[in-house]
């Protein structure tokens, strides 16, 4: 046999060995960094196409438009990693705020959102300074540095924030506690969060709720109180009513007491953590200030109250969205300055309030989910806003009547015709659903503005310990 024949045989034998070695390096990632590039329209075993198809255009020549909110895609990492960095190449001319979120919680679904593009900041002609990822905009330049700003901070109502906290504590001048109990007679369905104010008093809440047993599974109720540092300071729990089936036989009216004494003055966050089977029918408390955060679900009152009580809410936010999931929930929401007809189930309807200050919205009956970026109270006297105003896609800086914007934000860089934004997530913050991560673009106002966001490509860097298997 000739030398050439031997060489050919050697190549044939070595080929699968080399391929196996290459596959092993792809799997074990000995460098600690695994890179994936995905141009829209290309097939990839690691990143799915943007969807759903009703909210995105077809991918043509490496460009795909997002035309409704939210559009999402799935990532399929092939092994365990510790962190992931995404680099998104896109164009955006009209959307005030564009963010990308990783699915970070289920039931209720929650996303950890990080900024890609903020036109409110980038197109502002206010004085701008940046330091260590923090950005400060000033209507009139008062502070020479961000350190000066924190050394002598302005009052909270002068500051708007974006993706950052503002560590100047909120205090109500002239607040004094009372022993008079007041009720919130609204059916609240499932998980809710609210903030309350405590000064020289015991935090006390009494929750009356029913387990409607419409879905299978146990329905545990856990109420947790967090202080201004985000530390849990009190908790109350109730176990399932003993019926974990979906037979739709409601429990009786159960009661749960939450008490926490010796708390320092300040704002406390209360998280009502439970399933959608649990309907809180009334809340009683001597606390005077109570505002719900971001989402309220006014539950139906089938099997509890006839006729239904409905609800009236107060808010300073100018933009809410509402939907019902049943034909019985079709109704008209009437605000002081605007109203909206909920015509059909499973469709989100915007309610744009145009008045100033606190406005009320009348909800004739339940089975309505309301989502907003602001606060919601169920009595005008309970309303307070302990947080600096967040930058919103629905208000300009001038409309917000603030003098400063504090943001954790880095503007995207320009690469030719594309904007390029980098964001990173810890894998522990991402829900891993059988090896799949979900990422969602948040483009608030995209339908109202008839705007679009064009995506070109997404680069991903997956990070792991180089020595780890």
């Amino acid at each position: 046999m000739t030398f050439i024949t031997r060489i050919a045989q050697l190549i044939i034998i070595l080929a699968p060995v080399v391929i196996l070695g290459w596959l092993a390096t792809q799997w074990f990632v000995p460098s600690g960094v695994f890179f994936v590039e995905h141009i829209v329209g290309d097939e990839s075993p690691f990143i799915d196409e943007l969807g759903p198809s009703q909210r995105v255009s077809d991918a043509v020549d490496g460009e795909q438009s997002i035309i409704a909110d939210p559009a999402f895609f799935f990532v399929h990492p092939h092994r365990d990693f510790e962190a992931v960095q995404l680099e998104v190449w896109f164009q955006n001319e009209d959307l005030p705020i564009v963010e990308l979120g990783a699915l970070s919680g289920l039931d209720p679904e929650a996303y950890k959102l990080l900024p890609l593009h903020n036109l409110l900041i980038d197109e502002s002609n206010w004085s701008r300074m940046e330091q260590d990822g923090l950005l400060l905009l000033q209507r009139e330049k008062t502070y020479g540095s961000i350190a000066d700003f924190f050394a002598s901070p302005p009052s909270r109502d002068q500051v708007a924030t974006y993706r950052t906290g503002y560590d100047v504590p909120y205090r109500i001048d002239g607040y004094s506690p009372t022993d008079r109990w007041q009720g919130i007679d609204v059916s609240l369905r499932g998980h809710h969060e609210f903030k309350t104010y405590i000064k020289n008093e015991t935090l006390r809440f009494n929750f009356e709720y029913m387990d409607m047993n419409r879905d299978e599974g146990e329905d545990v109720v856990r109420i947790t109180v967090f202080n201004e540092q985000g530390q849990p300071v009190a908790e109350a729990r109730a176990s399932d009513d003993g019926d974990s089936s979906d037979d739709a036989r409601p429990s009786g009216l159960e009661s749960l007491e939450l008490t926490a004494g010796g708390l320092a003055e300040g704002v406390y966050k209360v998280v009502m953590s439970t399933t959608r089977d649990v309907f809180f029918r009334t809340m009683k408390t001597p606390q005077q200030k109570i505002v719900f955060l971001n989402t309220v679900f006014i539950g139906d009152e089938v099997g509890f109250s006839e006729p239904p009580r409905g609800a009236k809410l107060w808010t300073t936010t100018k933009w809410l969205r509402a939907q019902t999931r049943h034909a019985e929930g079709v109704q008209t929401l009437t605000g002081d300055s605007a109203s909206v007809e909920i015509d059909q189930p499973y469709e989100w309807y915007p309610l744009e309030l145009t008045g100033s200050g606190v406005e009320s919205v009348e909800i004739p009956f339940g089975d309505i989910e309301i989502v907003t970026e602001g606060k919601i109270a169920f009595s005008s006297s309970q309303y307070f806003d302990p947080d600096p105003a967040p930058l919103s896609a629905y208000a300009t800086l001038d409309q917000m009547e603030v003098d400063y914007v504090l943001a954790h934000y880095t503007s995207p860089r320009q690469e030719g015709e594309w904007l390029v934004a980098d964001i990173g997530f810890l894998v522990d913050d991402i829900v891993n659903d059988e090896g799949t991560w979900k990422f969602s673009f948040s483009t608030p106002g995209i339908l109202d503005l008839e705007a679009e966001m064009i995506v070109h490509k997404t680069n991903l860097w997956f990070y792991k310990d180089p020595m780890g298997l």
Partner: protein, 120 residues
Amino acid sequence: MIWKTKTFSAAEAISRTGFIVSTTSYVLFWLIDLAQPGFVSRYFSVHAFLLSAIVFGVWWSAVVRDYTQRPWLESAVALALGLILAVITWGASDGIEGYRLFLTLMAVFTPTIIYVLIKD
């Protein structure tokens, strides 16, 4: 007694090596991908090795000058292949309970039946 070393032509040597390496690689990579789904199939189809085995096999059969029959080895390979096919069929037929056992038995004996037919 004079021992004579069996000699092969270059084409036969290369095609034989190609067939054996391709077949072995096909089984090995397929088993690895079965143990760790996506290990191979995220990057290319494991069936590329099957295609390569067929190409080398056809080439080898065209250039082979003489061959030795090994009935015991051939039967053993057919039976082993039948067992592998049976495991796959059992796993893939979840949900068609009425036919599961029948299909699995078919899978066990199919390679042996084909082997017998080819031999005849």
